[in-house]
């Protein structure tokens, strides 16, 4: 039980519930099911990316380029659709684009052993530049309704993107907790030497999270475009950092080795709830970043404080 209480996921759930309770007294409207589902809908892309970011950070890495990768996917899919390419083929090519971009990061980081922060900072500007080139800086809109139907579909009142978020969450949780490869990722992040001595190829294992991150960026990009119905050359610019924020708030340890998909999603939910609360308080959106930054700091300082106290106790 004490183990459960110490888990970041548990404290996040408690914190989110308390926050919702407070909001209940401020504006009862906030807790209407419609609004809560709306919050989940808003965080579905961030949530998907945050889970990928969590995997990357577990291996002591970071991916600063994921928002641009996702944005590039939206523009590629949109351009294909507007040129009459069938929906399924456009989606497939879009997801493949995400995979290729993620694969580029993976190759540079694992084969050339370049530091992830520098590689992804470089590919961030690479992908953002490509975004302008794909559409010459134009917006993508007026997409075929058959494509828009995917993002705006509902099953039992639950929007399609939220269902995809849940499916990705379940698949990734099983992958991270139950499969051999998933455990390898934790092993490499926790102690590269031990992992190497145990016969793991640390370099090859590091490829996996970045490729998965690319795949998730592809899925998120398709969802984003089909739900919103438009995309601009700056789509996803704020998601680069927001996905990291969500993962870190969710207890993913920046020193590697620790983090869960559940935590990453909960981190995204907390960010979504706070953004929505700012709207209810009529605070300008520019405050959003400041609040986000503060929450990241609180989360990581709490983390390092926790580790310190554990060290003393041990």
């Amino acid at each position: 039980m004490s183990g459960l209480l110490k888990r970041r996921e548990f404290s996040l759930i408690v914190f989110i519930l308390i926050f919702l309770l407070v909001m209940l007294f401020v504006t009862p409207r906030f807790l209407q099911p419609g609004n809560l589902i709306n919050i989940l809908l808003n965080i579905s892309t961030v949530g998907i990316l945050a889970m990928g970011q969590c995997l990357v950070i577990i291996t002591k890495g970071i991916d600063l380029s994921v928002g641009a990768n996702m944005g590039l996917v939206t523009l590629v899919v949109g351009t294909l659709l507007l040129n009459g390419v069938p929906t399924w083929l456009s989606i497939a090519i879009g997801v493949a684009t995400g995979l290729v971009c993620g694969g580029l990061n993976a190759v540079l980081i694992s084969l050339l052993r370049l530091p992830p922060i520098i590689v992804t900072l470089g590919t961030l500007s690479l992908f953002s530049g490509l975004m302008y080139m794909v559409t010459n800086g134009q917006w993508i809109q007026n997409l075929p309704s058959s494509f828009l139907a995917i993002g705006n579909s509902k099953v039992l009142g639950i929007p399609g993107p939220v269902i995809v978020l849940v499916i990705v969450f379940i698949v990734l949780s099983v992958f991270m907790e139950q499969t051999v490869l998933g455990r390898y990722i934790y092993a490499v992040g926790n102690n590269p030497n031990a992992a190497r001595l145990a016969g793991l190829s640390t370099n090859r294992t590091v490829i996996v999270p970045y490729v998965l991150m690319g795949l998730l960026a592809g899925i998120a990009g398709v969802l984003y475009l089909s739900y919103n119905g438009f995309s601009t050359p700056t789509t996803g610019a704020d998601l680069n950092l927001e996905s990291i924020a969500a993962a870190v708030i969710g207890g993913t340890n920046v020193f590697g080795g620790r983090g869960t998909a559940l935590g990453a999603v909960l981190g995204a939910v907390l960010l979504g709830v706070i953004t929505e609360a700012l709207v209810f308080f009529h605070l300008p959106a520019v405050w959003n970043d400041a609040v986000e930054g503060l929450i990241i700091l609180i989360a990581v300082i709490a983390d390092s404080g926790l580790r310190r106290s554990q060290r003393v106790a041990g």
Binding site: I62, L108, L114, I118, Y132, P192, N193, V254, W287, I301
Partner: protein, 337 residues
């Protein structure tokens, strides 16, 4: 640590590239390489140059400062607001540089006191400072302008007809940084901390103080960059520094500053700044849009680090040993959970 010889070779190579680059653009457009034009074009990228000087120190100690762009925005906006409220523009500029020092101090203290990674700490303050800048400047127009002419000459004025005032300031500050890093005990401490933090700590060095000062300098230089940029564009905006961290870090790494810490020179940062800056000016001349230029910047960043990695067998060995020691600490803590 990469040897001094290797550093020299890298600097020479970059200097050679710079000359090639100027020659290349000169063939395409003879006007571009006239001394007058070359000197005038430096005004475009010198704000990046100021921040690259202090970023060099930060990276040598093994840190990174992602918040430089946001600090620049916040300093610029505060300077503009102070001036709007009747403060003398020069006093406002000075106060904004001091504000930069304070913001950098906050970064440094966050990093050394809580032990969180520089990357995450400055990522958080990138959000916070940038957001504050936007909040302060207000919604709507979002820019402050109408500064007095005497201040504007800081950005576009020249001495002896050709030499931009900004370039003279940059030269002086770069020399000061070069002296600080190479000839003072503080400079040697910066290298020591970057090469082996543990050894530095056990030999009685105040590692935390050394690190904090690098972030304070980074904040100061962001303030200086804001002052010059405000003068150059004759206005300050809440997002004037957005994405500048990329150019600053790229300038340092292209200049041969080791991304894992421990080595790098001010000369390198200077050459990196000019290589990148002249490239951007040249591409502007060829009507390549700034967004497309970012593709080039990103590719150069990766190429520079890739070359560093391929050329420096030493740095790879060092990196492995550093990972070993950090993971050893991690194991002892996690074993006790």
């Amino acid at each position: 640590m990469r040897g001094v010889a290797e550093n020299r070779i890298w600097s020479l190579a970059i200097a050679g590239l710079l000359i090639l680059e100027i020659g290349f653009f000169g063939v395409l457009s003879p006007d571009f390489v006239s001394p007058q034009n070359l000197l005038a074009s430096t005004e475009n990228f010198l704000p990046v140059g100021f921040m690259a000087l202090s970023m060099t120190l930060v990276i040598i100690t093994g840190g990174i400062d992602l918040s430089v762009g946001s600090m620049m925005s916040l300093c610029g906006v505060v300077m503009g607001l102070l001036w709007q409220h009747g403060v003398n523009i020069w006093l406002a500029a000075l106060l904004s540089i001091l504000l930069g020092a304070l913001l950098g101090f906050i970064n440094g203290q966050l990093i050394v006191r809580t032990g969180i990674q520089p990357l995450i700490a400055t990522l958080a303050t990138l959000f916070i400072y940038g957001s504050l800048a936007m909040v302060l400047v207000g919604q709507g127009e979002g820019s402050i302008y109408g500064f007095p002419q005497s201040y504007l000459s800081l950005g576009t004025g020249t001495v002896l007809k050709w030499i931009p005032i900004q370039l003279i300031f940059y030269g002086v500050v770069a020399c000061l940084f070069g002296f600080l890093l190479k000839y003072t005990s503080y400079g040697r401490q910066v290298y020591f901390v970057g090469n082996n933090e543990g050894a530095a700590l056990y030999s009685g060095l105040q590692v935390n103080r050394v690190k904090t000062i690098t972030y304070v300098l980074s904040g100061c230089m962001s303030g200086v960059a804001a002052v010059f940029m405000g003068a150059y564009f004759a206005s300050v905006r809440g997002d004037m520094g957005t994405n500048y961290e990329l150019s600053v870090i790229t300038s340092c790494l292209v200049g041969g500053v080791n991304v894992f810490g421990g080595s790098g020179t001010i000369l390198g940062a200077f050459l990196g700044t000019f290589l990148l800056g002249v490239l951007q000016q040249g591409l502007n001349m060829l009507n390549v849009s700034s967004v497309e230029q970012s593709v080039v910047t990103g590719a150069m960043l990766i190429a520079a680090v890739g070359l560093q990695q391929l050329s420096g067998l030493f740095s790879r060995r060092r990196r492995v040993s550093r990972q070993d020691s950090s993971s050893a600490v991690e194991t002892t803590t996690s074993a006790r959970d």
